[in-house]
Amino acid sequence: MPHITEKEVLHLANLARLKIDGAEAAILAKEIEPVLVYASILKEIAQTSSSTLKDDEALCRENVMREDEVVAFDAEEILKLAPQREDKYFVVPRIIKRGE
């Protein structure tokens, strides 16, 4: 039995907000399958791990934090990158249809 089906690819694409059609889903399922087969050995190997194995001790033991200060960017410089804007707002398509 394959690890991943076309139907699952379409479901994942929906969750990831990616519009793909059936033909693309079929190609992707075929391409993703061997990766999952290749990685399926990991579960078995992980089970041989000794319980005393600790997480990384030397690196990133604690976060480097910065002061809680406002970093001032020119708002106009950020807003002008928007694909669509009005005044100081980002404009997106309507969520609720007219008349609803």
Binding site: K19, A82, P93
Partner: protein
């Protein structure tokens, strides 16, 4: 001015200081060479206008007036940043990445944005929305990836340094294919602030140069604490790596050859010969060479596929067409806008990785894939650290063969497996640097040294001594 093309940073600095050359002349020479030859390579997505670039700060600063280039996944204030993707069309970075700012502060001058696989996802530069990068040694071959543009630009003598980034080997593999030096520092040594994220537990900024000295110089200038990256080292920079470059190695240095890497399936027989010759040179320099086995390394690629895709799925959710970049303006609802913007903006490889990432993180599969991969990653690091108690540095190939032809690796899994030799250093967070060690099929090949956390100084010292004892760094492609 083509005579300057292959000069090292060290040599260029001397010429600038003796006033044999002005910074403007040097920058113009770089830009002219790119204009003349980059049509063949496609290393640059954008070459900046000479009028818009100039060194900052004191003329005595270590990189004052030295031109270089930046992989187009790293923000440069006031410049576009595309990640080799259509989805970032129109985006202009409002700030400098910390690495870029630190290089600017010591006088370095970025003169362009280099091509790369889309969101640094690839090993051939073929997933870039801006087309593949051709290898300067053979235009029919791949530059490697994801940082093919940075590696090709340095190899072709366009610039003496170029920043790259690594998640699973995207500096070292293209550097190897193009015959130059590529570094991936210890995780956290260089801030990722301003690096557009792919796999956050793996991402690192690295450096492409033609000599080990230059690499140590540029890397050291960027290294050290940055409070804008919570995973940054606590040690303040910059770091001095160049004073250790004496041409000698540490007396009694122990090098462990990773036997399972050298005997990996598909290893080109001439590659083995090149690696053995390199080991002979290291022995002559005084290194004690022994064999070590790191069986966990053989699972590195599988672990890497799971973790990098999972993290990519999360990181790339921010590209939604709302605040910046491409948007499908035809969409009639918000949801449709998200879906079609992302479908049209991302290329096939990026979609593939996002979907794999979502699959291995999903409720039914996370334990089998994602969580297992996290455990095996810890096992790998433990194994590497244990081995590094017995030897100082590890020796391994960077690739099984020289650069493949553009279009040759059509099977996505075969392309993914390019990461086998490189991704263990990313997964274990250890520093690794590659240097050229010969030619196979008239194409450059390399080896890499991997060391304990923050052992960059020792790695550079050893590789510099190797480089000085050999002539590979004096070979350059004819364009």
């Amino acid at each position: 001015m083509d005579s300057l093309a292959f000069a090292s940073i060290k040599e260029l600095r001397e010429k600038l200081q003796k006033k044999e050359l002005s910074t403007a002349e040097l920058i113009d020479a770089s830009l002219e060479r790119i204009k003349k030859y980059d049509g063949r390579l496609n290393a640059f997505i954008e070459r900046f206008d000479a009028a818009t670039v100039a060194p900052q700060g004191s003329p005595d600063a270590p990189l004052y007036g030295i031109p270089g280039a930046v992989k187009d996944v790293i923000c440069q204030k006031g410049r576009a940043a595309t990640c080799g993707s259509k989805i970032l069309a129109g985006y202009v970075a409002p700030y400098d990445a910390t690495g870029v700012a630190r290089l600017n502060n010591v006088g370095a001058v970025s003169i362009g944005r280099t091509n790369c696989d889309e969101f640094a996802m690839g090993a051939s530069n073929e997933t870039s929305a801006y087309g593949p990068v051709h290898n300067p040694w053979d235009l029919t071959r791949s530059s490697g990836g994801s940082g093919g543009g940075s590696a090709a630009a340095v190899a072709a003598g366009f610039v003496p340094w170029a920043l790259g980034t690594e998640t699973g080997g995207s500096v070292r593999q293209p550097a190897t294919f193009c015959g130059i030096v590529g570094s991936k520092p210890t995780y956290g040594l260089i801030s990722r602030y301003g690096l557009i994220a792919y796999g956050s537990s793996l991402d690192a900024i690295g450096v492409n140069t033609r000599t080990v000295y230059d690499n140590a110089l540029v890397l050291g200038a960027m290294a050290g604490l940055d409070k804008n990256d919570s995973t940054s080292t606590r040690q303040a920079g910059p770091f001095d790596y160049v004073s250790a470059l004496t041409g000698k190695i540490k007396p009694g240095l122990k090098i462990g050859v990773i036997t399972n890497a050298i005997s990996a399936k598909g290893m080109h027989p001439d590659m083995v010969t090149a690696l053995e010759s390199a080991l002979e040179v290291l022995k002559k320099l005084g290194a004690q060479v022994s064999e070590v086995a790191l069986p966990m390394m053989d699972h590195g690629a599988a672990v890497y596929f799971m973790l990098s895709r999972a993290e990519a799925a999360s990181n790339l959710s921010r590209f939604d067409g709302v605040r910046y970049g491409y948007r499908d303006h035809e969409a009639s609802s918000l949801r449709e806008m998200y879906e079609s913007t992302r479908a049209e903006g991302f290329g096939h490889e990026v979609k593939r990785r996002i979907l794999i990432g979502n699959y291995v993180l999903s409720a039914g599969h996370a334990a089998q894939y994602y969580e297992s991969a996290c455990t095996v990653r810890r096992m790998m690091r433990a194994e590497f650290l244990e081995t590094l108690k017995k030897v100082d540095l590890l020796f391994a190939p960077v690739s099984a063969a020289p650069a493949f032809k553009i279009g040759e690796l059509a099977d996505p899994l075969q392309m993914d497996l390019q990461d086998y030799f490189t991704c263990p250093a990313n997964l274990t967070k250890l520093p690794a640097v590659s240097v050229p060690c010969g030619f196979v099929e008239n194409m450059p090949v390399a080896f890499q040294l991997i060391g304990p956390d923050f052992s960059e100084k020792e790695i550079f010292q050893t590789l510099h001594a190797y480089e000085q004892a050999t002539e590979w760094h004096t070979k350059h492609p004819q364009l």
